[in-house]
Structure formats: C-alpha cells, structure tokens
C-alpha cells in the first residue's frame, strides 16, 4: 500500500512538473504587467522645431489617442544636449518606472548605453531608433530594452545619391552638406554618397561641410560655395531635408532654384512639396509618424500582456532594419497628404509589430 502511494505520489509530481514545463513553454498570452491606465508613454527626441520631429511627436500622439492613453503621453525634448536626454529620462522615472515606455531618438550615439542601463536598472521599458551600436544589442541580457529599430543609413545615402547622380546625367560637380558628424546617420549617409561617387567617375565632390542638420547653417555655406565654384556646381547633396531646403533658398537668391538638382533625407512635408514643384529631386522617408509611434506600441503590447516579454522574442524582432521609401516626383503627391490613423492601426497591432522590418540589423 505504501509503495503504491509512493509511486502515485512520484507520478503526480512528475505530472505537475510536466504541466509546469508545458505552461512555461507556451508562447503568446503573457501576464499583464501593468494596469492599462498606469502605462505612461514617453517620446524622447531632440527638439520640435524641425518638421521631422514634429511628425515624430504627431505619430506618438496618434498612437496614444488610438490606444486611449492620450493623457499619459509625455514629450521629452533635449535641445541637442545628450546629458539632458539622459537626465530627463532618469528624472521622470522617479515615479512609476515599471509602467513607463520610452520611444527614443538618440541625440548622439553616446546616449544609448546610459539610457539602456537606466531602463535595466529601474525596470522601465525602452525602444531605440536610428543609431547602430555594434557593441550593444537588446538580446544580450537587456530584458527591458524591447527593440532597436535601426535604419540602414548607408543604404539611404546610396539611394538618394543615385537619384542625384541620375538627375545630373552622371556628370558634373556636387557639394555636400553633412549632418552632425558624431551621429551614425550622418556618417553612414555620407559613406553612401562616397560609394555612389566611386561608381560614377564623371561626378566630382567639390566640397563637403557639416551644417548641423540646420537650414540656417546651410544657407551661408551654400552661398559661399556658389561664390567659390559658380557653374561647376551641378548638384547639391544634403544629409537631411532641412539643410537641403536651406541650400535651396541660397540657390533661389542666386536665381538657380529648380535649375540644379537637390536631394535630402527625411521626407518632411516641405521637401515633398519642393519635389512636387520640381525644386528638389528626391528624399528618403523612414516615416517619422511610424518611428514616433512603433516603440510606444511595442511597449504597450508588452505591458498589457498582448505580446510576450521581449526576452522570448526572436533576435531579428529585437534589432531590425526599417523599411524606407524613396520619394521622387512620381510619388510625391501621394506622400504629401498627412496620414490618418487607419494607415498605422494595422501596424500597431500586437501580432504585427514587425511589419516594416526588412531584416536583422546585427
């Protein structure tokens, strides 16, 4: 009798063990980590005076409204100051850290590690964009770093440079306005230009100069180049639309607006309008509305339990390249309209968060 009882007990223990293992192996439906009303959505970006960032914020707000969390949306602006970006994150985490989701546009490559460490330490959740840090990966023990949405800035640079070279007929001199050179997008986009120039020996790079992503800085530089190189300039390359638009105004002052191809990156409404008018040739959009909202969507899905915890996600879902679109005269009109929520609702669904991934970024 005692032996049967023992066997029964052992079998019962094994059964319970097996069930427990099975339960742990079951994916999907996880525990809700926060009350929905407790979830705080934070969009951390440089500033809000450039249209790219305006749309980042708009995208974030669109998502917050759609998710019923509009009152829990916070915007953090660091005005180009990396220390401030980190400090702002830490100060808001003084309360409710475990239910806070950060969607971050890093001011410079150096802020990534401190912000990820802060999330790990406080239990907050973070999704980062843009910067590609070869030494840092979400799946290497950073359970609160949900994902990194990288943009293949070199591919972007190549795409937009090829548009410029094509518009120039493959011959002539170009001038290049670079972005802040301590950021990955600035370096990689320029590398993309160099790669395209290597394949088109008829096009020469006359001069390059950083203009801080700012049209105000680009204007006098372009003016000086026009004085120095005159007719030799047959194309203008800018690492972002704001600088391209500044160069365009300098061209306008010289009576050359629309006569010399100009390219930029970001896909801001003003640039799209300029492309439509024929004053700019091309831009590349990573879709600021999407970038401003997808991190918040991922975080909300994890916190409400509609998506499993990030440590169970596949690696390529935690660090992937974002699909970009080249905007030229052909599709400018289509992209000029401000998007409605329906355009993104499908991509904010918790089972469809990776719809714009084009491949692993590691």
């Amino acid at each position: 009798m005692r032996q049967e009882l023992a066997e029964f007990g052992a079998a019962a223990v094994r059964l319970v063990f097996a069930l427990a293992l099975a339960g742990a192996a079951l994916p999907a439906r996880a525990q809700a980590l926060c009350e929905k009303s407790q979830i705080r959505l934070v969009n951390s970006m440089r500033e809000i005076t450039q249209p790219y960032h305006v749309n980042l914020n708009k995208g974030g707000r669109m998502f917050a409204r759609w998710a019923g969390l509009e009152d829990n949306y916070v915007l953090q602006l660091n005005q180009g100051d990396s220390d401030k970006q980190i400090a702002l994150m830490r100060s808001i985490l003084a309360t409710n850290p475990k239910c806070t989701v950060f969607n971050v546009e890093p001011n410079a490559d150096v802020v990534m590690k401190p912000m990820v460490d802060t999330a790990d330490r406080t239990g907050a959740w973070i999704v980062t964009h843009w910067v590609l840090n070869r030494a840092l990966h979400p799946f290497e023990g950073h359970d609160h770093w949900i994902a990194h949405v990288a943009v293949n800035s070199q591919a972007v640079g190549v795409a937009v440079s090829e548009q410029l070279v094509a518009a120039m007929g493959g011959k002539g001199g170009i001038v290049a306005l670079q972005g802040r050179l301590d950021t990955d997008p600035a370096q990689k986009r320029f590398a993309g230009l160099k790669a395209v120039l290597a394949k088109h020996p008829g096009v020469t790079l006359l001069a390059e100069q950083p203009a801080n992503w700012d049209r105000r800085a680009a204007f006098p530089i372009m003016q000086a180049w026009l004085a120095k190189y005159g007719d030799r300039i047959r194309g203008v390359w800018a690492a972002n639309d704001d600088m391209a638009l500044g160069a365009l105004e300098a061209l306008r002052a010289a009576g050359l607006a629309g006569r010399i191809p100009v390219v930029g990156v970001d896909g801001i409404p003003e640039a799209i309008a300029a492309i439509d008018r024929g004053e700019m040739t091309a831009t590349v959009s990573s879709d600021a509305f999407y970038q401003g909202s997808i991190g918040l969507a991922m975080g909300t899905c994890v916190l409400t339990g509609q998506a499993p915890p990030p440590q169970t996600w596949a690696k390529e879902r935690r660090e992937f390249f974002l699909r970009v679109v080249v905007i030229t005269k052909d599709n400018a009109a289509h992209h000029a309209k401000e998007p409605a929520v329906d355009a993104y609702a499908g991509e904010w669904r918790c089972d469809n968060l990776w719809s714009r991934a084009t491949g692993p970024a590691f």
Binding site: V54, A207, R215, Y229, G230
Partner: protein
C-alpha cells in the same frame, strides 16, 4: 612703459579691428583666388547684415556697462510673430511690409521688459536678460507649435533674397541701421548720456542724469534691433524658426568686443562693432573657401576675442587692480 611704445599701442588699439579685418581679407584672398571677387563681396555683405543689426543694438547696451544675453530668445519670438503676421501657411494675416515694424516692436517690448527688470527690480542685467531670453524662447515654441510657419509673402521674400544696384537688400537695411545707430550715438542726448552712464554711473547720477530712463531706452533699442534682425532672417529663409538666433549671441558680443568696445562700459562705437562684424563674417566665409573644418572657426573666433581683449586693456593693465 616708454611713451613711444604706448603711442603705437594706443594707435593699434583704435585701428586694431581694422588691421584684423585687413589681415583676414588679405590672408584669404591669397589662399583662394575665388575669395576676392565681387560676387563673394556681395555674399559677405549679405551674411554680415543680420549680425550687424544685432551688433548695433548690443553696442549701446555694452557701452552703458550692461549686457544683453536675451537676443537669441528675442529673435526666436520675433521671428515667429513676423512669420505669423505676414502671408503664411498657418494664419490669415497678411501684413506685408508692416510685418517688419511689428516684429521690431515686439522686440522693443521685450527690451523694455529687460530694462525695467534691471532698473526697477535691481536684477543684474546678466540674469535679467538670461531669464527674459528663455521666456522669449518659450513664447516662440508655443507659437511655433506643430509646424514652423512658412512665409509665403513673395515680395518680402524676393526683397530679402534680392539686390538693388548690385548690393544685397539686407545689407542696405543693415547699413541704414548702422547709420541710424551712429547718429544716435554721436549726435543725441541718449548716445552721449549712455556713454557717461557706462563710464562712470555714479558720476552720472550725481550730475542729475536720469540714469534709469536711459538704461531702459537702451535695452528697448537693443530689443528693437533684435526684432528687426529676426524679421530679416525669417524673410530670407522663408519661415519662422525657434532656432533662428542660435549662435548669434556669442557672435554678436565677440564682434562688439573685437570692435573695441570694452565689456566694462564707457567706450566703443557702433562703427567699431561694424568692423568687428565684418571681420567675423570674413572669417566664416573664408573658412568655407579654404575648406577648413567648421569647429576650427569657433577656436579661431575665441582666439581673436582674447587678442582683442588683451589689446584693448593693454595700456591700463598696470593700473587695473581689480579684474573680475
């Protein structure tokens, strides 16, 4: 120090800014043949226009012994007001040319506030203007909101980007401000009294000069200039921009110091500041010509300020006991 050396150094002090400007111009002309052309001269004048307008206002403030650190915020607020007041893509206003005096008036009101806080509340100008500048920046951000307003007033834009008889229009406007400033400085009571206030304020008070009144007027004037400069830059770039004044504060003060105006007040002239502005503009333009990295420009600017400040105080350095 022997009389001869003192005389030479004294002469250098007054012609120092001019010598610096000449040296830079000759240097860059030798370095790149494209630099010394009529086309580039036009561009230098165009680039110098906005800083010159700012420097005229700042010269008065520094001459009277104060400092104005609010111009970046003031420019931001006035730029937004200007862009929203003329034909734009956000509001229904279409004030056209009136936009310029409106922006200048907004700047003057901010300047007035600066002056009142300094004289009535006895807050040092350093702090008062810093605070008001931040307020201006905040106002600008509120006005800018979701999208920086784009200026759609074609005549205004064409004016700002265009030339008259081969001279850029903005340069002509700046020259007018310079002439006006020079007139006020040399031929009006405001100019001469604020000079005394800067040199020896206690003496001015004891002599019965209404020091507070003139201080407030000078701050308002500087604000007016900042507003006008903001409108000019906005018309040129085509939008109202919160960052429109970014970097201008340090550049303006540098130009004024290089031009021979002592930071402790009581000396200097708008003409010297004009030379200082030209020197800095030539420096920036020349560096693009020779392809020098832009961060070098800031370093060289700093070096020029130091040299200018040393030269300015050289003849009295033995007598100066207190250096703050």
């Amino acid at each position: 120090m022997s009389g001869g050396v003192a005389a030479v150094l004294g002469g250098l002090r007054t012609s120092g800014p001019l010598l610096a400007l000449l040296a830079l111009t000759v240097g860059f002309a030798l370095a790149d043949s494209g630099f010394a052309t009529l086309a580039n001269l036009r561009i230098i004048l165009d680039s110098a226009a906005v800083p010159l307008v700012l420097a005229v206002g700042m010269t008065f403030v520094i001459r009277q012994g104060s400092i104005d650190l609010s111009i970046e915020g003031l420019m931001a607020a006035c730029s937004l007001v200007f862009a929203l007041a003329v034909a734009n893509d956000r509001t229904q206003f279409d004030l056209g040319w009136l936009g310029l005096p409106v922006a200048a008036a907004v700047g003057a009101v901010f300047g007035l506030a600066n002056g009142l806080i300094v004289t009535r509340l006895r807050v040092p100008s350093f702090m008062a203007t810093l605070g008001l500048g931040s307020i201006g920046l905040g106002v600008a951000m509120l006005l800018s909101g979701d999208q920086p307003p784009l200026v759609r007033d074609t005549p205004l834009r064409q004016w700002a980007l265009g030339q008259t008889f081969g001279v850029p229009n903005l340069a002509l406007a700046a020259a007018a401000c310079l002439a006006g400033g020079f007139f006020v400085e040399q031929f009006t009571r405001l100019g001469r009294y604020s000079y005394v206030v800067g040199g020896a304020e206690s003496v001015a008070r004891v002599s019965g000069i209404n020091v507070d009144f003139y201080k407030v007027v000078v701050f308002a004037f500087a604000g007016l200039m900042a507003g006008l400069a903001a409108a000019m830059e906005s018309a040129r770039l085509g939008l109202g921009h919160v960052e429109i004044g970014a970097g201008q504060m340090l550049g303006t003060i540098t130009a004024v110091v290089i031009g021979g105006t002592s930071l402790s007040g009581g000396s200097g002239s708008v003409l010297g500041s004009a030379v200082g502005v030209l020197a800095l503009t030539v420096l920036a333009n020349g560096m693009v010509f020779v392809g020098a990295p832009p961060h070098l420009e800031k370093a060289i600017q700093g070096a020029i300020v130091l040299v200018a400040a040393v030269l300015a105080g050289w003849h009295v350095r033995d007598r100066l006991r207190i250096v703050k």
